[in-house]
């Protein structure tokens, strides 16, 4: 039986495709972030914890997902930071507030250029929510 939340990679010819599932949108966003970091081969340094807050608004759940992951890529590339503790709240499916804790990146195997909207749709299932995300790499 599939766990309540998680992510897994799907084959994609040129880019990376990640399936993410969770009981609710906040957990889906967290799992998508963890999945993205896993695909990149990210490893964080021990110690010197860093905290960041993110507040976002989007037109819909898909927009929130793309923008949230885009923010994480921005912090990754500009500040060299990744996160492993997520406290995310979502209101009305379009407003997000995230308190994040992590540290400097010790290793990153691959660079993600962008989070795409390709066939992006947050779908409701009997277990909660599911989405497939394609990353341009």
């Amino acid at each position: 039986m599939k766990p309540e939340f998680g992510f897994r990679e799907h084959p994609h010819t040129a880019d990376w495709e990640l399936e993410v599932w969770a009981p609710d949108l906040a957990t889906l966003l967290e799992q998508a972030a963890r999945g993205m970091y896993t695909l990149s081969g990210m490893r964080l340094e021990a110690g010197s914890p860093q905290e960041r807050s993110i507040a976002l608004h989007a037109a819909d759940a898909e927009g929130l997902l793309v923008n949230f992951l885009g923010e994480l890529l921005w912090v990754e590339q500009e500040e060299g930071l990744g996160f492993d503790v997520f406290a995310i709240t979502v209101e009305d499916q379009i407003n997000l507030r995230a308190e994040l804790r992590g540290s400097a990146i010790a290793n990153l195997d691959k660079e993600i250029k962008a989070v795409t909207y390709h066939n992006l749709a947050v779908k409701t299932t009997s277990q909660g929510l599911r989405v497939n995300i394609v990353f341009d790499v």
């Binding site: 994609h12 010819t13 040129a14 898909e62 691959k110 660079e111 962008a114 795409t116 909207y117």
Partner: protein, 483 residues
């Protein structure tokens, strides 16, 4: 889902998905491939993506897919689509996140026999002079004013700074500067990403490669380009780095609202677009041109760094160590061009995503020395296989909006490549085959393994058979530097 039965044969090298395939298609899809290649084409969703692209407003002619096609996001990689001005649309996803990703070829008079003892040192020097890899900053750090100058001037900025010669610019598509760039249309975030990265290769499928000119097929064209069998050449493959990625990201987001405002129905949100005549369309065009010019400058600075590496290793050891520009091409771009379509000269926006401009002989856009032979087209293979130098043809102007293929094209997913190939073993195999490898990441190297790509010779045979390019020379890899 597109099947083999849906394809109508036009010739041995050209196939069509008729407009009747799906009611929302506005134009047919034309595919350049041999019958043998069609089985591979069906393995992923690239043709389905081409059909989706064929639904965009304002398309003319056909949506064209090249034999190196593979599944991308929104548009397929290897896709060409032209929209009529002023009311046709421009789609950032039809150009890609790595705006003006492209290839530069430098030729030389360095004989392989003379350079052979120094190849390993050359690979090391290139790796030292040309920053590459995940998150690596460039060799040039720009102020805000300098970034704006790069956006507006492209390679001309590099010329003023001593990174280029007039001959380099003359032998660059658009002379290394697309007019109409406006840095005011570029976000603060894109600027912040762009300032520290100029003069860097990046990671992924980007590379610098030392090649041997292995075989010449058209001695006249090769001679005009200065390519001679037995001599070394250098290829540089990269684009606009985080600057272009962010500009595309920003406008894909902005256009999510624009399609609602313009009442455009989409089958895939990554195909978002806006009419070329709209303020949104014009803003993207102006921002995209900033990234295009940044990429021209980026490859120019990397070429300058490659020249320094060659001088450092070969000066005093070989007679002439200089690298001169053969050509620099874009393969992710949106260009306003005039084409003869259905007997009418029409101004169109040609989207090329993983496709190379391939203008035929006589095109006014070409430098004088190339007007008789047609535009040089640079088709890199995978790191263990050949690359090709082609030229555009008169037929490419009629059949494919003056476009042809851009590379070998992926066959295997990155996931599958990583599962089947060990990076360190691959590096050893390539070294044993006489190819010197410098790679920042073994995982990244595995994803780019030669077996993950189509046979580039078959790709080239298909575009040559289809008449949209001619063979000039085949290159063999000697050293590969990857991020």
């Amino acid at each position: 889902m597109v099947t083999l039965q849906d394809l109508k044969r036009i010739s041995d090298y050209e196939w069509e998905i008729p407009q009747t395939f799906r009611p929302d298609m506005r134009v047919p899809v034309r595919l350049f491939a041999t019958r043998r290649m069609l089985q591979d084409v069906m393995k992923d969703k690239s043709l389905e993506q081409a059909v989706n692209a064929a639904t965009l407003p304002g398309l003319v002619g056909h949506v064209i897919v090249m034999p190196d096609m593979h599944q991308g996001y929104g548009f397929p990689i290897g896709g060409v689509a032209a929209t009529r001005l002023p009311d046709g649309v421009i789609s950032p996803g039809g150009i890609g996140y790595d705006i003006n990703c492209g290839v530069r070829l430098l030729g030389s008079q360095i004989r392989l026999e003379a350079a052979h003892p120094h190849l390993d040192a050359l690979a090391t020097a290139l790796n030292q002079h040309c920053p590459s890899g995940v998150g690596e900053k460039g060799s040039v750090r720009l102020t805000e004013a300098e970034l704006e100058a790069v956006c507006r001037q492209g390679s001309r900025w590099a010329l003023k700074q001593g990174f280029a010669s007039e001959a380099d610019l003359r032998r660059t598509e658009e002379s290394g500067c697309v007019e109409g760039a406006d840095p005011n249309k570029v976000s603060k975030r894109a600027r912040e990403r762009g300032r520290p990265q100029l003069g860097s290769l990046g990671a992924g499928n980007h590379f610098i490669e030392i090649d041997l000119v292995e075989q010449v097929f058209d001695s006249t064209a090769a001679s005009v380009m200065g390519l001679e069998q037995g001599m070394l050449a250098v290829q540089i493959h990269c684009g606009s780095r985080g600057f272009g990625h962010q500009i595309c990201t920003d406008y894909v987001e902005e256009f999510q609202g624009a399609v609602r405002r313009f009442g455009i129905h989409l089958v895939d949100r990554e195909l978002v677009c806006a009419p070329l005549s709209s303020p949104e369309g014009q803003s993207y065009l102006a921002a995209m041109r900033c990234a295009a010019n940044y990429a021209f400058a980026n490859r120019q600075i990397l070429a300058s760094s490659a020249r320094k590496a060659f001088e450092q290793v070969l000066a005093g050891k070989v007679k002439d160590w200089h690298l001169y520009q053969v050509y620099d091409i874009c393969h992710n771009m949106g260009k306003i061009e005039t084409h003869l379509i259905d007997g009418e000269l029409m101004k169109v926006c040609v989207h090329r995503k993983g496709a190379t401009r391939a203008f035929g002989p006589g095109a006014t856009e070409l430098p004088d020395e190339y007007k008789a032979i047609g535009q040089p087209v640079l088709v890199p293979g995978s790191m263990g296989t050949a690359s090709w130098v082609l030229v555009g043809t008169a037929a490419s102007m009629e059949q494919s909006f003056g476009s042809t293929c851009h590379g070998a094209g992926r066959l295997m997913s990155r996931h599958e490549a990583k599962r089947n190939v060990r990076g360190e073993q691959l590096r050893q195999d390539l070294e044993a085959a006489g190819i010197h490898i410098r790679a920042g990441s073994m995982a990244g190297l595995a994803e780019e393994a030669p077996q993950a790509y189509k046979d580039v010779d078959q790709v080239v045979d298909a575009v040559v058979g289809g008449g949209i390019a001619r063979k000039v020379a085949r290159l063999h890899p000697l050293a590969v530097i990857k991020g």
